[in-house]
């Protein structure tokens, strides 16, 4: 089939591999876009769903930047978690809807990655109810943590604080990113698919840490209690 590409098409197609253009894009074009059309950072967590299976085994990827960005700061965080490990695990046990939870230090962030069932706010609220006083010791090591401790007396603020630090979960269907950006302005303007690449760039500028899609699952969604019941280990 004969190509009917003109020189302009070939030039535009070649831009992403042109080092000069990419330099300008990173340093000039993206900041300019971001200034022209501000994109708000998206809160974290999965989309709310009432489909059975979609509302269990939800992921929380909580990234909390440490105040002290040094080996001493990281050591303090590691010590806080190890000191209160038993209390934290007992709290997670009492919540009843948590499958797994892990604490990880990445760069200068203390992270809590967990898989839970049902509503995010219920998870965090029930967790804080049982071990709030212990978790305060972790939160006070984190940037802007002092605004929400003691967390058991700042429940609403603490839940929003966690929500804001939970990783934005980029939709499996990339076009859904446009819906997320519209938020409560849904239906305000039709989606313009030509803008999608730009919108993705801007969103990832606003949310540097993201989780990509819903993730892989080897089996359909079951609640933690369903799994425990099937294995006969009590729930």
């Amino acid at each position: 089939m004969p190509s009917n590409e003109g020189w302009l098409d070939r030039f535009v197609d070649g831009l992403p591999s042109n080092p000069l253009f990419m330099f300008l894009a990173r340093r000039v074009l993206v900041p300019y876009w971001a200034w022209r059309t501000p994109v708000t950072p998206q809160p974290g967590g999965p989309r709310v769903s009432i489909q059975p299976g979609d509302n269990v085994q939800c992921m929380m990827n909580l990234i909390m930047p440490l105040k002290d960005k040094s080996p001493i700061g990281r050591a303090n965080a590691a010590m806080a978690i190890s000191q209160y490990k038993d209390e934290i695990y007992a709290g997670l046990d009492n919540v009843g809807t948590v499958h797994f939870a892990r604490f990880v230090i990445v760069d200068d962030n203390i992270c809590m990655f967990s898989v839970y069932d049902g509503d995010f706010t219920n998870y965090i609220r029930d967790f804080i109810t049982t071990i709030g006083s212990v978790f305060n010791a972790v939160v006070e090591l984190v940037e802007e943590g002092e605004a929400v401790i003691p967390c058991e007396q700042n429940v609403e603020a603490f839940i929003e604080w966690v929500h804001a630090r939970d990783m934005y979960q980029v939709p499996d269907l990339a076009t859904d990113i446009l819906k997320d950006q519209k938020g409560d302005k849904a239906g305000s303007s039709p989606d313009d698919l030509r803008k999608l690449p730009r919108e993705v760039v801007l969103q990832l500028r606003a949310n540097p840490n993201v989780s990509l899609g819903g993730g892989y699952r080897a089996y359909p969604g079951y609640s933690a209690a369903q799994v425990r019941q099937k294995f006969g280990v009590g729930w």
């Binding site: 059975p52 509302n55 269990v56 069932d117 219920n122 029930d126 109810t129």
Partner: protein
């Protein structure tokens, strides 16, 4: 705490019900900020200048019930429109600020229940500023108070009105006796009053500024306007009575030939269910009772598993260690309040309790002449924290069924966002087996609603005196 509690600062429809026969909820928009503030000030002025006076709580309930009662709730838009200082507005919780429409998926308001399908005045939620509720026994009294409340129309514009009424003693359209179980408060009820097998609820269950059911945990109290206030999820819930009765008929027919049916209803036990009932008709009532957790008479299955006893308001029971062949794990009243029974969320047994103030709307349903006119329930679901109580109960328990692995993945048989293609409801039997019912349609459709805040009397005075 009870000694410091000022009963008269709390609106009268929160801690106990009025037991009036009729209600009218006026859905209102603030037409003019200054006039609306004057109107609010007048509702608590004790002389009124012709404006209805807010009915308040008292240490003792009145000896003679007033002819009419009057209460108000404000939406976040209403508080903002009144010019409530931002220091107070910023302290309201997110779900209240964003409003009921924003929580649609959490509440199961999808498909035919989605806010996009709500009729006026609920199709324009941002215009709803205030919901004023009038309680009385006669329509003429409702009309009179409405006329007084609207006055010259300068302060408030009427967007719509919802009338509810009780035709039979506390029965709702699906034929159940309702309004039996409510949280009891130490400040109102003696330890033995209406004993219900549950601890008396701390005031913080429903009022801001008091200890909650969560030990050591307190909710944020918006400055100047929060204390002694309560949040309300106001819901207009249409009930498909013809669909419900048809489902009972269809299910009874299916059960008649089910191999385990004799365990559900031993042959000859039909007379326990009702005089002269056929086996089919008795099975209809058994299914209705299993779905709700109470017989239509009001008698709870936990106390009376085999027959609808005459002690219809019996409420002193628990599910601790109870065999589910009495009350199914998935039954409506067990899902919405598991009492002390085993649940997955171990800290949540009593923490999601709500005060329910509902009244049916629409014409009575006549089973001899089935029709599909709109009828249902005007529900008020009160609590100190919408997210921790109303939304938590609806999202995790009514739908999804996360509280018990044996019901997880199913929705409430009466109230749930059911789809006949996937819905199921288990009837546990004494032998340990279950009969699984399928194909439950959605019987209750949301037709409107709003999250409102029911301010204290002193908060109403504060709002009425704003000058900015």
């Amino acid at each position: 705490m009870s000694t410091a509690f000022d009963h008269a600062d709390v609106q009268g429809n929160i801690l106990r019900g009025y037991r009036q026969r009729r209600v009218r909820h006026l859905v209102l928009e603030i037409a003019d900020r200054t006039a609306a503030r004057r109107w609010l000030a007048a509702t608590v002025s004790d002389n009124g200048d012709g404006v209805p006076q807010i009915t308040r709580e008292g240490r003792e309930r009145w000896t003679t019930k007033p002819d009419t009662c009057f209460n108000i709730g404000l939406t976040f838009e209403g508080l903002a429109k009144l010019g409530t200082p931002s220091i107070s507005l910023d302290m309201f919780p997110k779900e209240f600020v964003e409003g009921m429409n924003a929580s649609a998926i959490k509440l199961g308001d999808v498909g035919s229940s989605a806010p996009e399908n709500w009729p006026a005045p609920f199709n324009e939620p941002k215009r709803i500023h205030l919901v004023a509720s009038i309680y009385a026994s006669e329509i003429a009294q409702l009309d009179r108070v409405q006329h007084q409340a609207l006055g010259d129309g300068k302060a408030l514009k009427l967007l719509g009105a919802c009338d509810g009424w009780i035709s039979r003693d506390n029965h709702v359209h699906f034929g159940y006796r309702d309004n039996i179980a409510q949280p009891r408060f130490a400040e109102i009820h003696g330890p033995e009053d209406h004993a219900d097998g549950q601890p008396r609820a701390p005031l913080g269950t429903v009022l801001l500024g008091y200890p909650t059911n969560f030990e050591g945990l307190t909710w944020r109290v918006p400055e100047r306007v929060g204390h002694n206030g309560s949040f309300n999820a106001f819901r207009v819930l249409a009930q498909d009575v013809a669909g419900f009765e048809a489902y009972l008929t269809e299910t009874a027919t299916y059960l008649l030939t089910h191999p385990d049916v004799d365990e559900l209803l031993p042959p000859g036990a039909e007379a326990n269910i009702g005089e002269g009932l056929s086996r089919h008709a008795a099975l209809r009532e058994v299914v209705a009772a299993k779905m709700c957790g109470r017989w239509r008479s009001g008698a709870p299955l936990a106390l009376s598993p085999d027959k609808p006893t005459h002690n219809v308001t019996a409420n002193n029971f628990d599910y601790v260690g109870e065999d589910a062949s009495r009350c199914p794990y998935g039954a409506h009243i067990r899902r919405s309040n598991p009492r002390g029974g085993q649940i997955v969320q171990r800290v949540a047994n009593h923490s999601r309790r709500l005060v329910r103030r509902g009244m049916p709307y629409g014409p009575d349903y006549d089973p001899t002449r089935p029709d599909t006119k709109e009828r249902g329930l005007l529900g008020n679901f009160l609590g100190a924290n919408i997210s921790a109580q109303f939304e938590a109960m609806t999202y995790d328990w009514i739908n999804l069924g996360l509280q018990d692995p044996r019901v997880t993945g199913s929705n409430d048989p009466l109230l749930g966002a059911n789809d006949p293609a996937t819905s199921w409801f288990d009837l546990p039997l004494k032998s340990g087996t279950t009969i699984r019912l399928r194909g439950l349609p959605r019987f209750v459709t949301t037709r409107g609603g709003a999250y409102t805040f029911l301010p204290s009397l002193s908060a109403i005075r504060f709002l009425g005196a704003l000058q900015n």
